[in-house]
């Protein structure tokens, strides 16, 4: 665990969003059926999201990416620690204030299929942000606004009258983006926005996001399990494993320091048959988040793990390229 931002990672942009030593636990419902069990979905995360940049978060299923996203938007409250947006603590903000803040931070969800109320028309869906924020629009303004928003994300404005089930996944995701951008937010959290789309559509959406960012001066927190995509799209890359940040790559091209990040990279399927890889670098699977091992959570799968790793949990170091590992891959090179 670092001491937080004061001695933390220098960033080029001003942090718009800050995690300070944030934990988030989930308790499985007890009651009739089960014993209560506590699961730590986000574990001691300290992180700055600099304005105007794309911060990527990668990690495998269940590592806490979505939880991090929800915390970022104040949709759930941290168990410990502080999440602040533009300096304001989201957990203590009043309802009305939170609503105002929400106009400036938005989220695009992983599953476009269920992110629009099936009973709403597309037009109503993209205009709902105004309703919620209490901004009244007249009939003509409504139509114009809907048209503008749909046009912005490359959709035919005539779709406004349709219900979501008439749209393809890619179209729905564009609607999701339009909705998120309706209130002109500064921060957009993108939670695996392309994961459930075909590659050809995924590429379209990524291109759209790139274009919008440039046009609207947005800050992105881009969450994905696809390291290749993150490396293509992001300025900084946060690697998570079992709720904890294990490495923060200051740039996509930075040399990898954590064995897990390495494994992640090696697992990617390079679309080039001439470069067939020895696959299976990582062995075993992610252990249950319920009973975390006492030492490094990656130790059970790590080829470099030793006794220390199994006993002492490594902390994120305070270098320009922070890593939480007893045996970082570049030990010989970069000092920490």
């Amino acid at each position: 665990m670092t001491d937080g931002l004061t001695t933390g990672v220098p960033t080029t942009g001003v942090p718009i969003l800050r995690f300070e030593d944030v934990n988030r636990d989930f308790t499985t419902p007890g009651g009739w059926f089960a014993r209560r069990r506590v699961l730590r979905a986000v574990n001691a995360v300290t992180l700055d999201v600099p304005a105007g940049r794309v911060t990527g978060v990668v990690g495998e299923s269940g590592c806490g990416k979505s939880t991090l996203a929800r915390l970022a938007l104040g949709l759930i409250k941290p168990t410990d620690g502080r999440v602040s947006f533009e300096g304001e603590d989201l957990a203590t903000a009043r309802r009305a204030r939170l609503r105002q803040l929400r106009a400036r931070m938005q989220m695009v969800f992983q599953d476009p299929y269920s992110s629009i109320d099936p009973r709403m028309t597309i037009g109503d869906a993209v205009l709902e942000p105004f309703v919620v924020q209490g901004i009244r629009l007249t009939g003509a303004a409504r139509a114009a606004k809907a048209e503008a928003l749909l046009g912005m994300v490359g959709l035919d404005p005539s779709l406004a009258r349709n219900h979501p089930h008439h749209l393809s996944g890619g179209q729905k995701q564009r609607v999701g983006i339009a909705r998120a951008l309706a209130l002109e937010p500064r921060l957009v959290v993108l939670d695996e926005p392309t994961a459930s789309l075909d590659v050809s559509i995924q590429a379209q959406i990524v291109a759209l996001l790139e274009a919008l960012k440039a046009r609207l001066d947005l800050t992105y927190l881009f969450i994905s399990h696809d390291l290749a995509l993150v490396r293509y799209f992001c300025d900084r890359i946060v690697v998570m494993y079992l709720g904890a940040v294990v490495e923060i790559l200051p740039s996509p091209a930075a040399p990898i320091r954590h064995p897990y990040t390495r494994a992640l990279l090696d697992s990617a399927f390079v679309p080039d048959p001439t470069r067939r890889q020895t696959l299976a670098r990582a062995t075993g699977e992610i252990p249950s988040a319920f009973d975390l091992p006492p030492g490094c959570v990656y130790a059970p799968r790590c080829p470099l793990a030793d006794e220390t790793c199994r006993r002492i949990r490594p902390q994120l170091d305070r270098s320009a390229h922070p890593v939480a590992c007893h045996h970082p891959l570049d030990r010989a090179g970069a000092g920490s």
């Binding site: 609503r99 105002q100 269920s114 109320d117 709902e128 924020q133």
Partner: protein, 281 residues
């Protein structure tokens, strides 16, 4: 699929079509009973009691010489009316309870559901008999009894829907926009939970008609001379050896209507593709 379109497309399926025709017919009879009935439903003529079906009396007459056909037409209005209003009230109450319990969760949920489960615990007929003992007999009490008897079912269903919907991304998305509880509940959750509950309500209407009939057997449903189908059947029990038509025709009316409701409801469930959502309750 929108419920309106679904109603139509269910009516076009091989199972749904005949059922829909029957239901339209019954509703038509209920609305226009006054005009369609050849006689007043309470016009007695003791000298013409228990006549078998004939040209003058299409379905025969009952023990008071009243025209059965006219009574069955009016009976549609009463039986359907009681069933529909009480189930309507039951659905509304169930929605309120279920929505609150499902949305609030935690202790509010447990408490509300404990109450609901209490009524769930007892057979509807017993609930109805006990309630009518308290409220006194009559159509109003019958309606209240049916309302209470079936409420648990809808509350549970509504709650299950709400809980399932709470996990939908669009709800989180709307919260993310800054929406409050009222907006979430009234604009998104309840409207989306409505369809299965309404369909379950429609199916329960059939049961309610039968329950009203059974209460009539104990003398507790519609008060004479109002002709609910149930009241007609129960009065006909004494006549069943002498004038079987007195009990057979109202019985047929019930059976046909209820089967039609069920078949059409089934077609509707398929059209709306909500079969598994219905089971969640």
């Amino acid at each position: 699929m929108a419920i309106g379109t679904a109603l139509l497309s269910a009516a076009r399926t091989p199972r749904g079509a005949p059922a829909a025709i029957v239901l339209v017919g019954v509703v038509f009879a209920a609305i226009f009973a006054d005009r369609l009935a050849p006689y007043a439903y309470d016009m007695q003529s003791l000298m013409q009691a228990n006549l078998p079906p004939s040209a003058a009396h299409l379905l025969g007459t009952d023990e008071f010489g009243r025209d059965l056909f006219s009574r069955i037409l009016h009976g549609a209005r009463i039986s359907l009316g009681v069933a529909v209003t009480s189930i309507g009230a039951s659905v509304a109450l169930g929605l309120v309870f279920g929505a609150i319990a499902g949305y609030a969760g935690g202790w509010a949920d447990r408490l509300l559901m404990a109450v609901v489960d209490l009524t769930w615990a007892f057979p509807e007929i017993l609930i109805a008999l006990v309630l009518i003992a308290i409220l006194g007999p009559g159509l109003g009490s019958t309606a209240v009894a049916i309302t209470v008897g079936y409420m648990a079912q809808f509350a549970r269903l509504a709650r299950a829907q709400i809980i399932a919907l709470k996990g939908e991304t669009y709800i989180e998305a709307t919260v993310g926009l800054g929406a409050g509880h009222a907006h979430i509940l009234l604009r998104h959750l309840v409207p989306n939970a409505l369809t299965p509950v309404l369909v379950a309500g429609m199916l329960a209407t059939g049961d309610a008609i039968v329950l009203e009939a059974t209460l009539g057997y104990f003398g507790l449903g519609a008060q004479p001379p109002l002709p609910s189908w149930g009241a007609m059947m129960s009065a006909g029990v004494g006549q069943m050896f002498l004038a079987p038509w007195v009990i057979v025709f109202p019985g047929l009316a019930i059976a046909i209507t209820v089967v039609a409701i069920n078949l059409y409801g089934d077609a509707l469930i398929d059209a709306l593709q909500i079969r598994n959502r219905l089971r969640e309750g």
